[in-house]
Amino acid sequence: MVEVGRHQNTRNFCIIAHIDHGKSTLADRLLEFTGALSEREMADQVLDQMDLERERGITIKAQAVRLNYKADNGETYTLNLIDTPGHVDFTYEVSRSLAACDGAILIVDAAQGIEAQTLANVYLALEHNLEIIPVINKIDLPSAEPDRVKKEIEDIIGLDASDAVLASAKEGLGIKEILEQIVEKIPPPKGDESKPLKALVFDSHYDPYKGVIAYIRIMDGTVKPGMEIKMMSTGKIFEVNEVGIFRPFMTSVDELGVGDVGFIAASIKNVRDVRVGDTVTNAKKPADKPLPGYRQVTPMVFCGLFPIDGADYDNLRDALEKLQLNDGSLMFEPETSIALGFGFRLGFLGLLHMEIIQERLEREYGLSLITTAPSVVFRIYKTDGEVIEIDNPTNMPPVQNINKMEEPFVKATAMVPNQYVGAVMDLAQEKRGVFLNMEYLTETRVTLTYEMPLIEIIYDFFDLLKSRSKGYASLDYEFTGYRESDLVKVDIMVSGEIVDALSSIVHSDKAYQKGRQLADKLKDIIPRHMFEIPIQATIGNKIIARETVKAMRKNVLAKCYGGDISRKRKLLEKQKEGKKRMKQVGNVEIPQEAFMAVLKIE
């Protein structure tokens, strides 16, 4: 039986930080300080579990952990730390993690101050009415300027930073103070145990023995094994086998009640039945309405994925199926390319999501892959009255059969320090942005809002935005709808043959320029062969650009010194290894990066 009012001593919080500002290290220290892990168990940076996350320093999947803390007031508190992903692709996931919290620790680097990425999440946290505890980290650095950073927090975010904790997660300084502030400042969870169950799903993972594990925060009611639960977005019903908490390893408990953060296992086979943002309720006594904010996640970005070695097709499918077990937002279906053979068309939340999946396939499953340039879903009104949607340029019907075309637009919001406003406005204009609004948040910080084609955003907008604002601009975007656009397909011919996987759909104003730049780029990417390779860009039957990869004339080994054959052998092996990373199209070996070249042109 859940003790009534127990949740008065519960605190649910997350940590908001820019990459490298010390989120993982601080999380480790909190775990250590509260004894959640013995030092021996303490693998560094427990919360970021994927190798890839550690390397990139970003959190891709949310994680949760429960800490017990005996405060100075003599009471023992249950603290639930919910980790949040930190990238624009995953804004929705972040918002759901925040919705599971009542407060947030904001970490700011004492030397670097507030950075763009942090801001978007801070604003998101403020939208959810979270109590924010500022922590100035890395005060042990010689370049630390805590007073300047305090002022920044007050000026830019408008938070009172007078009580900000001065900490060094690395040195273990300020950890106790942070815990005390969590207890004092963050309100206990509200909710009513007697009401029907309402639990927010903020993440999930697939367990081969238990099925899909739902990560939940209980808003009202209780849940325990044997209970029938209903997923409110789909209406699907499951019987609970197990409920538990994260310590940080999954630990069964008898029951979860108001304010608890934990997991539910209910022999759920399909990860799509556990949707982030969904509300879990009691099937027999359902809540009258779900928690607000649920959104069905739909892929926005599509690309083709082809094994370099055709024999890997089945391995690729198996790998995708495995990844999908843990990633409900990943979609795929078979695709056939004339140039690249059999592969899959994949749908992603955004570009980072795409890169992560590709990297995991290559690294964890040892697959060598060709990724084609990302595309969005275009809507085509044909002359015969039919309306089709294509996510692959190859499928675009001939121009004469097209009445009009539409492409997806988004409302893009960039937060920019005022000295970069001009540069960012220029960039938005170049990317076909339509100016909507400009607003000064503080004297130095501006929000710019544009309506822009999604395809421009997924190409290189984010990278350019960062480089033109020296990393200070942040970006968020949301889909607004389809707009008519004057679009054409640019094809690329290599040695006289169209390589379908190199086709792209672009705005007609930019088609010539893009075609020329792409041909020029490919000329440098495609290595020299024993014969000359013409590269042409075409629109319809019209050739708009031509470049030539000259024939290789010379490649000789230098002197073979003192019988060091193994060294020569290594050189030849390296040369050969390079070829393995390429796809043979006709008689031309095309490197992987060629298929992404369209992204790299301005």
């Binding site: 004339r553 490649n555 080994l557 003192g562």
Partner: protein
């Protein structure tokens, strides 16, 4: 079968700007310890390798710059070698020389110790090009090195050249060849400069201080040296090597025919009875090991059949006469057509290889593309 012996002398007065081989600044004390260690290694290897019954048909002292050592040291090395190994009476015994580090006395001394061939690092005629390569000699020193070699009794003189030097013109290359021919060498090696990473030359090219030679010009230089030397009585017998008939470098033929050899000294490589091994690179480490009566070997590996096959092919193809396909079949029990059917078909359709007199050879088109051909057999 008889074997070859390679002795690595890892010292130079100054390392050249293009060199990425193992070499250290000359130090008299270190050199003396090295010569002593080398003697120990030669007798040590004899006992351990079971090579005492193998006749030695060639000895090659390479570097580095062997001639930074004294005539006495070089003679001692050769004498130690004879002490441990059965060196054939007609063995080819080569000492690499750099102009500026030899004199009549030193040359006389090594000739007396049995050396019968010198290979002189000439590289170029023009002073500006020599300076760009970081060579410390000038043309006068080349001429006197050749003259003194002759006077000391060397009738087999090989000259090393480099083409494709940043800033080198076709005219400079022609002049170099004219000057070199006038010295009447028995053998000429003409290597296309390869700019290796982590060399001063590489840094100069990366920084834009030097502009690498145009590839078409390099090709033109290559075709020119082939035409020029074959027109003047030389046999073009290997991608980069030319000889008066009968003066082909017997030691290097051992490598190209994938025969056996022993290497002594730091970083030296050996190939014996299907096993390849190499010594530690650091000269101090090498000396310490041998002083403790330990082996200098750092790596060793038994070659698989596939490895032996691919090496036989890519080494053999370096020779203009190509690879003897009967001998190949005899060694490996399978014809090359069974093993490399796809590769051979592709390469011959591209016009890079041909088969003549039951030998697999590079075509004229294939010569400058040799690496592309070799990689197919890896």
């Amino acid at each position: 079968m008889a074997i070859g012996i390679y002795i690595h002398v890892p010292f130079c007065l100054k390392k050249c700007n293009y060199c990425d081989f193992v070499s250290y600044p000359y130090d008299a004390d270190l050199a003396a310890s090295y010569v002593y260690a080398l003697g120990k290694e030669m007798s040590y290897q004899l006992v351990n390798m079971g090579s005492e019954h193998r006749e030695v048909k060639s000895i090659y002292l390479g570097g580095g710059t062997p001639t930074v050592l004294t005539g006495e040291q070089l003679a001692a090395i050769l004498e130690n070698c004879r002490k441990s190994y059965q060196v054939a009476d007609d063995a080819e015994i080569t000492v690499e020389c750099n102009p500026g580090t030899v004199n009549p006395d030193k040359l006389g001394r090594i000739r007396k110790a049995g050396a019968n061939r010198v290979s002189i690092g000439v590289q170029a005629y023009q002073q500006e090009l020599l300076a760009r390569l970081g060579r410390i000699h000038n043309w006068q020193e080349v001429e006197s090195a050749v003259r003194h070699s002759r006077q000391a009794g060397f009738d087999n003189v090989s000259l090393d050249l480099i083409f494709g030097i940043p800033g080198q013109s076709m005219r400079q290359w022609r002049d170099t060849l004219d000057r070199v021919l006038a010295l009447s060498p028995q053998h000429i090696s003409a290597y296309n400069l390869k700019i290796e990473p982590d060399t001063p030359l590489h840094r100069d090219v990366c920084s834009g201080y030097l502009i690498p030679c145009d590839e078409e010009l390099e090709l033109e230089m290559y075709w020119y040296v082939i035409g020029f030397l074959t027109g003047n009585g030389f046999v073009h017998y290997e991608i980069s090597n030319f000889a008066r008939p009968g003066r082909e470098a017997r030691h290097n033929l051992i490598y190209w025919r994938n025969e056996e050899y022993l290497g002594f000294g730091p970083a030296a490589h050996s190939m014996l009875e299907g096993r390849r091994f190499s010594n530690v690179e650091k000269v101090e480490l090498y000396i310490n090991r041998l002083n403790r009566n330990e082996s200098g070997i750092q790596n060793q590996q038994y070659l698989s059949r596939e490895e032996r096959i691919s090496e036989t092919v890519f080494l053999g193809l370096r020779l203009i006469e190509g690879l003897d396909l009967d001998a190949f079949k005899q060694s490996y029990g399978q014809s090359i057509f069974e093993i490399f059917a796809v590769q051979l078909k592709r390469l011959s359709s591209l016009g890079l290889v041909k088969i003549e007199d039951n030998r697999l050879k590079l075509t004229e088109k294939g010569l400058p593309l040799a690496n592309e051909v070799f990689a197919e057999f890896i």
